[in-house]
Subunit: 234 residues, 2 copies
Amino acid sequence: MTVLETQGFLPHIAFDSVVFGFSKGKLKILLMEYHDTGWLALPGGFVGKNEDLDEAAKRGLKERTGLDNIYLEQFYTFGNMARFRPEVMQTILAANGFHLDSDHWMLDRFISVSYFALIDFEKVILTPDELSDSIAWYEIENLPNLILDHNAIVKKALQTLKENLERKLIGGNLLPERFTMNELQQVYEAIFGQKLRRTTFQRKMLGLDILERHEKLYTGKSHKAPYLYSFRKV
Amino acid sequence: MTVLETQGFLPHIAFDSVVFGFSKGKLKILLMEYHDTGWLALPGGFVGKNEDLDEAAKRGLKERTGLDNIYLEQFYTFGNMARFRPEVMQTILAANGFHLDSDHWMLDRFISVSYFALIDFEKVILTPDELSDSIAWYEIENLPNLILDHNAIVKKALQTLKENLERKLIGGNLLPERFTMNELQQVYEAIFGQKLRRTTFQRKMLGLDILERHEKLYTGKSHKAPYLYSFRKV
DNA sequence: TTATTATTGTCTCATTATGAGACAATAGAT
DNA sequence: ATCTATTGTCTCATAATGAGACAATAATAA
């Protein structure tokens, strides 16, 4: 049964997720590419008639990334009329061989409840949905054009992430369990979009008393080996 | 034409507003009391089929408070199954003489896109809606039980307000155009829920270079008269 | 083995921000 | 003229941050 045949979703309500990952010093997000059209969009979906809104977002992420227990935060609901462009969805569906009546629920107006997720880049197993050719990582600094208002959604997600980063100390969710101080600093720099002072950053992070120091990491480079750290549990 | 006869709203989508005002040193919000039931709820409404989500929230506020140009911020969308309790709305409507079929759109599941507003307490002209006996101010520190998850909505609104207060300097929206430093401090204290140091607060506010100093305010009290301030435009 | 290089962890010192209070100025009451 | 409560501005101690110095060290080159 395809999503189109299902009668089990709430009309007019969708969710979209801005999934952040960090790799090679760059902040990236996941984008789907729809069949034939080449159009890019945020991963998202619909809400089951008997499903919690948050559960729907978690389910969607699990389907695309294979991950459970993701750091996930709802940040805004987009509901302007300007985002109602039924021809966009119609084109995407037509490229998949579906030709719907114009009163079909999927061609109706939708509001998008939007979430952002922070995940460990290395752990993801990407899986496209039935309408997409691919799902892949794109650098946040150099995003292509996305369908509808998805560029604005990403912009707001990044803004929210910036504002929350220090207060909530969530940056570590983008790294593996153990990481070096330099890696953590790179995450902060990528999100804030600016260089930070090494010694000040180290002093502040250690002073927060949230990091646990482990063994050194010998990378084979000819210089002093950095310690590995993890975030203190509870 | 009552809201019940209207076919012009999106199903499943509502908005609710936490309207903050400040008076006599206390932070307060607006609550509606439904006919007969005595039940209390946040002011809210539905979204027109051709209406922007934000516009719907503004329209609702205009109807209840008479105010335009309100500081209004969307902060969260509540969409758990637990908030789907059709008997609540049915009881409210029954108390107003409406007896709807159980498949009526108003008895369906709703998600609530929630906003908070900051307004000048003195400027409001309160107007109940067609299902309510009254709309009135209630102290945030001593709220009664509200229907559904509205207590949780208020809690989240207050939390968001706290988190945004310093970064966005929005506290002045709760005061009239001109105010004393002491009044501004009381607003901050009411929102943070704790006393602040007078001299430090004054120094910080003046140091931000966002206040304009005007004439003194002579209240008739036997002590030095404070200056009036306003927020610098642009 | 020893010198070299790049990076790390920690220290110092200057600058800025904040906490806590002192104190003179002053509007009205006594 | 004196008193009281509050305001605006200072001062000084303490804490946080900016900016850099410097020794430690892991691998490489000599």
